[in-house]
Assembly symmetry: C2
Homo-oligomer: 203 residues x 2
């Protein structure tokens, strides 16, 4: 890739949901979306199936942007003790900009991840992410509501979809409230537990 891209890599069910209903600390993906089904492609023989490459690509960015709901569940994320889901050394190894309504000091984690809290919305987050990403991609990490805001604002260059072969019927939908998009699949692949499609967003 020549120029740094704004990418979004996200898993969704075949019927378009990135999470089910009633997301909580106990059920981060909702009470009707089995996380084993959602994530088994990452953990089930990742080397053999070339999923390692996909996972590395997801995490290969100079900065990340995520919504507050991805950072933490509603009743915990604003507590000073909450430092995300990922333990002492999150897998990002880069600055992460968390969209929130609650001002909070940055949190430095082990391994180069810093959580920075942004209260001015998606465009401000993107400007700040670009400042630190250098010549590397910026990744919009999720969840759907944040991705949908970026899509609606026309700010994403490439959408890397991981389509999990289940339908769940109810939950948080990707593309909800996003004006019609025209895309181009530029790479397609997968295994018996996931289909990867990399889209370029044309307009």
């Amino acid at each position: 890739m020549d120029n740094p891209q704004v990418t979004c890599s996200i898993a969704m069910s075949l019927d378009g949901f990135t999470a089910g209903k009633n997301q909580s600390f106990e059920n981060p993906f909702g009470d009707n979306f089995d996380p084993d089904l959602l994530r088994r492609w990452m953990f089930q023989e990742p080397e053999k199936n070339n999923h390692k490459k996909e996972i590395d690509a997801i995490l290969d960015a100079g900065a990340f942007i995520m919504g507050s709901n991805m950072f933490g569940p509603a009743n915990r994320r604003d507590s000073p003790e909450w430092k995300g889901w990922w333990g002492e050394e999150p897998p990002y190894h880069a600055p992460v900009f968390v969209l929130t309504h609650q001002q909070r000091d940055p949190i430095e984690m082990a391994g180069g991840t810093t959580f920075n809290f942004i209260t001015e919305g998606v465009e401000s987050a993107l400007i700040q992410a670009k400042k630190v990403a250098g010549d590397r991609n910026i990744s919009v990490a999720g969840g759907a509501s944040t991705v949908n805001q970026f899509l609606a604002a026309g700010l994403i260059d490439e959408l890397w979809l991981h389509i999990v072969p289940v339908t769940i019927g109810i939950g948080t939908r990707l593309f909800e409230g996003v004006p019609p998009l025209l895309l181009e699949p530029i790479e397609v692949g997968g295994t018996s537990v996931v289909t990867h499609i990399r889209y370029r967003i044309l307009k």
Copy 2:
């Protein structure tokens, strides 16, 4: 394939719609779903891109089942003059069972297609289709509402999805009202204008 399968081959937008809103004689796929975008994979260099094989597979069945809305628009389909969208020689070349509420005599078309009208619902249509299909597959041709009824009843073995790289935001959704499904992608491919995924439905 050893045993005849009940298959469904259907095109949908990336956000899950098989047709837009306000379907009519003038706009069979609705007024917000450009048929050129929906169908260009069938007509844009089909030989080169191996789409010919896909199209042949769609039409290779011993019997077809379709909903009344696929057979014709609401204000025309019950007229004795209406014989479907496909001209004198429809591409099916086999018996087609049309789910309807209006009793009507069969219509014999050129090339082996016969439209038979079924008023007793999806299971009755499937029984009658199996009687004439011999050792060939039975194809549920569409539209979404008919496919969803078959999916909800657990009657489809393989779902062949043609994911068109657009989002349209509103229309008729595949999987609407269908209980959660577990599937397995068994073939994936495509070009810059469509992604084909062949799913086996596990439960």
